[in-house]
Each structure stands twice: as C-alpha cells, then as structure tokens.
C-alpha cells in the first residue's frame, strides 16, 4: 500500500450533546486523499453521531469540518453531498419502489425540455453500473435485487454524486465473503482514484485487510489515530475497550470473598446460528462478567439464559434442579431479571411515568388481576428513587424526560422491585455519563454483597475486571475462555478476546 497523500478532510473538536449525555466530545478526524480509514468503537462510542455530523443529518454543536482546506458546515445530507461527503449505510437507504436508474439519479435526473429523460437516465445508469461490475437492467425496481447489489447501487449513486469522501457504515454486515471481496476491490479502486473512504465496521479482520489507518472512539471521545500496519490487534482491542496503561487503573479490584452457594449452572447451552454451546456457573453473591466485542455473542448468551431465545442444546440448572425456559415468563417466575442493552428499544416505555415503569415487571409477575394498590406503587417508586438516587422532582414524570443514566437506574429499579435472585444486565453503563457509571457500579457491588447473583455483560474491561468475580469471554459467537480470581485482569480479558479459538469451547464451567 502506498502512503496516502495530502489531507482531504479534517474535522476538529466535533461535539454533540443529547439530553443527559455527551454523545460526541471534541472528536478529531483526519482523512487523506487515497486512503481507506477505519472508524472503530463499541456501541455508543459515538461512531453514528460522528457520521451524522459529517453528513449534516444532525447539526454540529461545536467544532469544524474542513474539506480541501475550505470550511464546510453541512445542514442536510443533500448539502453534505453537494460538498462531496456521502454516506452509504448498512440499512440500504434507497427506495425499493423506484427503479434502479431512478434511485441513482433521484434529485438530479437528466431532463429534456423540462421533462425527465428516462431513456437517457437508463442509458447512463447502465454505463455507471457497468463500471461497478454490475450488468443489470436499470429499469427494474430496486426491490428485485439482493442486498449486496443494492449496496453496490447505493455506492454507485454516492460516487456518481462526485463524492470526495465516501462513508461506508457497516457495509459488510449483510454480505457473504465473495460479495465482501467485490466491495473491497471497489473500495481500493475508489481510494486509488483520490477519494477518501471512511469504513465503519466491527469486523477486525476486515480492518486489517483493507484499511490504511484507524481512528478509535470510545464513550464519545477520540482514543487515537494509528496506522493499521503499526497497530497490533491486541493494542487495537485495548484501545476500543478502554484498557488503561498498566498501573494506571483507578478502579480497585475488591478483596477475595467467601463464595456463596451455587445458584444457576449453565451446561453447554446453545442455539444453532445464534451462539455455540457455553457453560458457566453463578453463585449467590457473585458477579459473573461477560466480555467480548460487539457481535461476539455476548448478548445472545443472556437471551438464552432469560428464555427470550429458546436453546436447542444444553441445560440450565437452578438450585440443583434442571429447568426448561419456554419464555421470559418462566425465567421471571424463577426469580430472574433482565435489563436489556438498548433501553429505548427493549426497556423503558417512554410515555409512562417513572412510577409505572418501575412497577411494570412486578405487576406483570403478579398478573393483571392482583393489581398493586396505588399507595403501594407510590411507596415502591419513592423507595427506589431514593435508593438509586434517580434525579427527578417526582415519580409521576414521563420517564422519557429523564437523562440516560437516570432511565437506566429506573430500569434497574423495575427489576429490583421484583426482588430477583439473578439479575442479568446487558451493558448497564452504556450511553450514560461518567458520574452515573460510578453510581451504577457501586449499586451492583451493593446488590452482590446482599447475596444477589449478577450476570453482567460489559464492553468496559476495566470496570468488569474491578467488580466481577469471574469473567466469561466471548469471541465469534462462542465461549473463548473463563477467567477466575486472580486471572481477572483487563489484560487477560483482552488477550482472551483477541486470541483465536482453536479448540472447541471448554465444556465445563470453572
């Protein structure tokens, strides 16, 4: 790979705040003409927000973007496209009801005497598509083609709009390996022609295969920019997961404690196409951490454990007896609770009050006939608002008015109100500010000390290493290791995440 030339796009100090959380905090990004540049980070790192600012989908709060040394401030995607910045998303944002040619030229159709010249549009579309290795009839509706072809059509449209900077957001997620190869060849050609390609992905192998440089974001902040060739995979993952240089850890690992009685044991639990069989044991008063990169299967283990997905292999043993989970209701009856990762999608009911959101799970367990008296509901809500320090004037405000951290705490309260024996948490500290991080972690430790069993999925390795008694590491949808006691260190977790799994996953929990 040749050394890319001059700076094409330079973004400095980009900032964007959502209520309660700084989604992007003074981030810099430099793209050089002729380079393929990876943008990496876990969920909530700020990748999407950065793309939204570059493409004008959201207004810039602070900071600047220079393209070819000239300041641009895109107000809309159309505006950004006019200056030469175009994004193509994993979700194809073309229109399935229009023809391929119409999709390519929408908004800039060739006209003749004021009328759209369809014949010319089709001709030019066919020529353009042939440059991208596609020989298809541009008069066909877009919906007639596979996702991979639609993706290439989207890129053809973007490039034809005289894009200087092409942003590809998870373009390979729904492609097979042959289609990925075609896409990579195209990306290299486009870069060679002097464009800059920003490649957002969570497939690290692809990053090493195709990119020149890497920019890593974490928690809305820039972690750093490196040359791909000079960044070992171990260091890259450490950047993504926020491992600090050794000796710099401010989080103190707790002292070893007497383990409680075994509570839940999972033996070779798995589901085809979801996650390979894994095994783990959780005792009362113990935190089992689950670490892994995005897409490693970490959330899927929780779905199986909570009955949200039905396992087709293995068994779950609770208090010495094997149980079958036909659905989350069975899990709730056993005393399991589950705080999902995306609280907007799976968790909170935005229009209901904080009180109603808190009593939801408890009421569901009681059934709708035995309605909780209002006084009891108020008492519960007030108790947890005080206990978890949820910042709100009163319990009757709609939950959507709270900040992310406080929503997360209300969601926790919902499950705590059911007095669960096992609480499953998926990324409990994602998308909330630093102060709320510490509060949630203190709370987890308190619950653990009271004897609750906790199953915590997290991409914050420093935090997991501090509060987890054991850590299960996931990689490529299979169990890649189980760390216990003194083995639980940020470095060991990252080692396990990066080391390829050669042998079948261990069959027995530690």
């Amino acid at each position: 790979m040749t050394e890319p030339a001059a700076t094409l796009l330079s973004a400095r100090g980009l900032t964007r705040t959502y209520p309660g959380v700084r989604a992007l905090d003074g981030v810099d990004l430099t793209l050089r003409a002729g380079e393929i540049h990876a943008l990496l980070g876990e969920n909530g790192a700020g990748k999407s927000t950065l793309i939204n600012l570059l493409t004008g989908a959201q207004p810039i709060e602070a900071g600047s973007i220079h393209l070819d040394g000239r300041e641009v401030r895109p107000r809309s995607p159309a505006d950004a496209a006019a200056s030469g910045i175009v994004a193509v998303y994993q979700e194809i944002t073309l229109l399935p009801n229009l023809s391929v040619a119409e999709n390519i030229y929408l908004g800039r159709e060739p006209t003749r005497f004021g009328l759209v010249d369809r014949a010319r549009m089709r001709r030019e579309a066919a020529i353009l598509l042939s440059r991208f290795g596609l020989s298809i009839d541009p008069a066909q509706p877009l919906s007639a083609f596979s996702t991979a072809v639609q993706q290439l059509i989207a890129i053809a449209r973007a490039v034809d709009m005289s894009a200087r900077v092409l942003i590809l957001d998870e373009p390979t997620a729904s492609l097979d390996s042959a289609e990925v190869a075609v896409l990579f060849r195209l990306m290299r050609e486009l870069a060679a022609s002097g464009m800059a390609v920003l490649f957002v992905t969570h497939f690290l192998d692809q990053v090493y295969e195709v990119t020149h440089r890497i920019t890593v974001l974490r928690g809305g902040k820039l972690v750093g920019e490196r040359k791909t060739a000079a960044l070992p995979r171990l260091d890259l993952v450490a950047m993504m997961l926020g491992k600090l240089p050794s000796g710099d850890n401010h989080l103190q690992r707790h002292a070893a404690r007497e383990p409680g009685a075994p509570f839940v044991t999972v033996k070779d639990l798995g589901k085809r196409h979801l996650v390979a069989p894994f095994s783990a044991g959780i005792r009362r008063g113990e935190v089992l951490g689950v670490a892994g990169l995005l897409g490693s299967g970490r959330t899927e283990t929780a779905l199986l454990l909570f009955g949200a997905e039905r396992a087709d292999a293995g068994e779950i043993i609770v208090d010495g007896a094997a149980v079958t989970l036909r659905g989350p209701r069975d899990a709730i009856r056993l005393g399991f609770g589950f705080c999902p990762e995306d609280r907007k999608l799976d968790g909170i009911v935005p229009d209901l009050s904080i009180r109603e959101n808190i009593v939801l799970a408890l009421q569901a367990r009681l059934g709708w006939v035995r309605r909780l008296p209002l006084a009891r509901q108020r008492e519960l809500a007030d108790t947890y608002i005080k206990l978890l320090n949820i910042r709100t004037p009163d319990a009757e405000k709609p939950i959507q008015l709270l900040s992310g951290g406080n929503q997360q705490k209300a969601l926790l309260a919902r499950w705590l109100a059911t007095k669960p024996r096992l609480l499953i948490l998926d990324e409990p500290t994602r998308g909330i500010d630093v102060g709320a991080h510490a509060e949630i972690i203190l709370l987890l430790e308190k619950l653990r000390d009271e004897g609750m069993a906790l199953y915590v999925i997290s991409s914050e390795v420093e935090e997991v290493a501090a509060y987890a008694d054991r850590v299960m590491v996931m990689r490529e949808r299979r169990q890649a290791g189980m760390l216990t006691g003194e083995e639980v260190t940020p470095s060991a977790i990252i080692d396990a995440i990066v080391t390829p799994v050669d042998m079948p996953p261990p069959g027995r929990a530690a």
């Binding site: 229109l95 399935p96 999709n103 369809r118 083609f145």
Partner: protein, 324 residues
C-alpha cells in the same frame, strides 16, 4: 416479469373495465353509443378531477379527506361571488383555484411541520371547509349568469351524435396534465420517493417539505376545479355538495392499482377506476329496477377484491424483503 408484477393491478383493473363494458354492451347495445360515453365522462368529471389529486396524495403515502368539503365550499363560493358580488365567472374561477391551492399548501405544511398524520390534518381541513361553506349559505344558490350557458354550449361533436362537453374535456385535460406532472417531471418522481420511504427520501436529498406541500396543494387545487365543474354541471352552489365523494375518489385510485400505502401506482389506473364506478352506475340506471345504492355495494366488493389482489401481488413480488 417484475414490471408485470407492478403493473398487474392496473392490467387487472383494465381487464375488469373491458369485461364490465362488454357485459353491459351485450345486455344494452346502446351503451356503446357515443352519447352514453359522452355522458359517462361528463357525469363523472368532478370525480375524475378529484381522483387526479388523490392519486398524488395516495402515491406520496398520504390521504386527503378534505377534497369533498373543498369542492362543496367552492360551489357555494362561486355562487356567492357570481350572483352576490357580481364578479365575472372567469375571475371567480381564478380566485377559487388560487384559494384552493393556498388552502392545500397550508394543509401540506401542517402535515410536514407538525408531523401530524395526514388523516387528522385533512379531517380538520374537511370540517373547516364544510363549516365555512355552511357559513356562506345553508341554501342552494342558483347561478344564472349567461356565461355559464356559453360554457355549457362548448363541446366537441363525437361521431354518432354524442358530444364531449367542456367539463368532460376539463377532466381529460386534468388527467393528461396530472399524468405528465407525475410521470415525466422531477417533482413527480419525488412524490413516488416520498411514498416509498419518507426518511430515506430525505437522506437521499429530497426536499420532503416541498414535496408534501406540492402534493396537498395539487389535491386541493383539483378539488377546487372539481367544484367549478360541479357548479357548471348543476348551475348552482350548495354547501352540502360532495359529502363523502372523497371516499369515492380514494376508491377510484385504489381500484386503479395504486397502493394505499404509497409509492406504487399511476395516473391511468385512476381514470379507469373512475370509469368503472361510472359504468356500474350507468348500468344500474339502464336496468331501472335496481336502487342506485347498489353502486356502493358493487364498489365495495370491487375494492375488497382489488385490495386482496394487491396483497397477493405484493407477497409474490417481494421475496427479497423490503427495506422500508
């Protein structure tokens, strides 16, 4: 074959129309006469003009419930302006057309910027227009201006003794202009884009505000034109004119092969949809023994069949999965 799957609803409609006409012609050969055809076009001119506007609205993924009320208001406003204020009909026509366009643009702007469902906004507009019409007058006002007589004398002779009156020509003109605007201009393509997926259209750089305003502006302008046609047709203005015709217009568009969810369909189908409704009414008139309300039942059954057909076509033609 994909193209076929998309034009299949239109072809099915055309087939039904031809079949229906054949059955009618066998039973009553005089239905083939130019006079009957001329009357078919004239009697349904206002509905056709409404359907032109409604085609834009439904293709954009919306609905416009206000067109019947806007048409009713227009007939009263014309009668008041011509008979009460003594304005020349042509001046009055210009005023109601501009007023209709402005009203529709307001509706479109409200839908876009209030992010309100078109159903609610146009329902509100329907009440406003109907209420305003009743405020102007609760009685039917006859229009006796001689220019109306001049206009109704304008006609093209059809072979076989029939004649194509001005209002039938206006309807056909509306279909031609609407069809060109929809199928051969950038603005028309934007309407399809909006109906395909409004968010994606925005990401692709389409000005969704302008397109929404255009769509409802066209719809209300057509409603005002339908009001002019109805005023010429009945030579009067009455506030309760056109109660429920918005639903007939929607039915015509859907029978014509346009998907109620937007994005797929076209102008020619809507014309056929209108003519099918007119044909059923004509046939019932020829029969003489049936109540004219059978038209509604026949339309209802046709709609049901067509919606079922569209569902089936969608299921068979979209195995790759829609990204919307």
């Amino acid at each position: 074959m994909r193209i076929n799957a998309r034009t299949l609803p239109f072809l099915a409609t055309l087939g039904v129309f031809i079949l229906l006409y054949a059955v009618c012609a066998i039973q009553y050969p005089s239905m083939l006469s130019a006079r009957v055809i001329g009357n078919l076009l004239t009697d349904n001119a206002f509905l056709g003009v409404l359907a032109v506007g409604m085609t834009f609205v439904i293709l954009s993924g919306g609905i416009d419930l206000s067109v019947g009320a806007v048409m009713g208001f227009t007939t009263v406003a014309l009668a008041v302006m011509i008979e009460g204020a003594g304005l020349h009909p042509l001046v009055s026509f210009a005023i109601v057309l501009v007023g209709g366009a402005a009203f529709g643009c307001g509706v479109g702007a409200a839908i876009h910027w209030l992010k309100a469902p078109p159903f609610i906004v146009t329902l509100t507009a329907m009440f406003l227009a109907r209420g305003a019409a009743l405020l102007l007058s609760t009685d039917s006002i006859p229009v006796r201006h001689e220019f109306y007589q001049t206009l109704s004398d304008l006609s093209l002779s059809l072979p076989g003794g029939g004649r194509l009156g001005l209002i039938a020509m206006l309807m056909l003109l509306a279909f031609v202009v609407g069809g060109v605007l929809l199928h051969f201009t950038r603005a028309g393509l934007r309407v399809y884009a909006l109906g395909g997926n409004a968010r994606f259209a925005g990401l692709m750089g389409i000005d969704t505000a302008r397109t929404t305003i255009l769509v409802y502006g066209v719809s209300s302008t057509m409603a005002a034109l339908a009001g002019i046609i109805f005023s010429l047709y009945t030579r009067s203005g009455y506030a309760l004119t056109g109660v429920g015709v918005e639903l007939d217009a929607i039915a015509a568009v859907v029978i014509g092969g346009t998907l109620l969810s937007g994005g797929v369909g076209g102008m020619a189908g809507s014309l056929i949809g209108v003519l099918i409704q007119g044909l059923i009414l004509t046939w019932i008139t020829f029969d003489g023994s049936l109540s004219s309300w059978w038209t509604k039942i026949a339309i209802g059954m046709l709609l049901f069949i067509f919606i079922g057909l569209q569902r089936l076509i969608l299921q068979f033609s979209a195995p790759t999965g829609r990204t919307g």
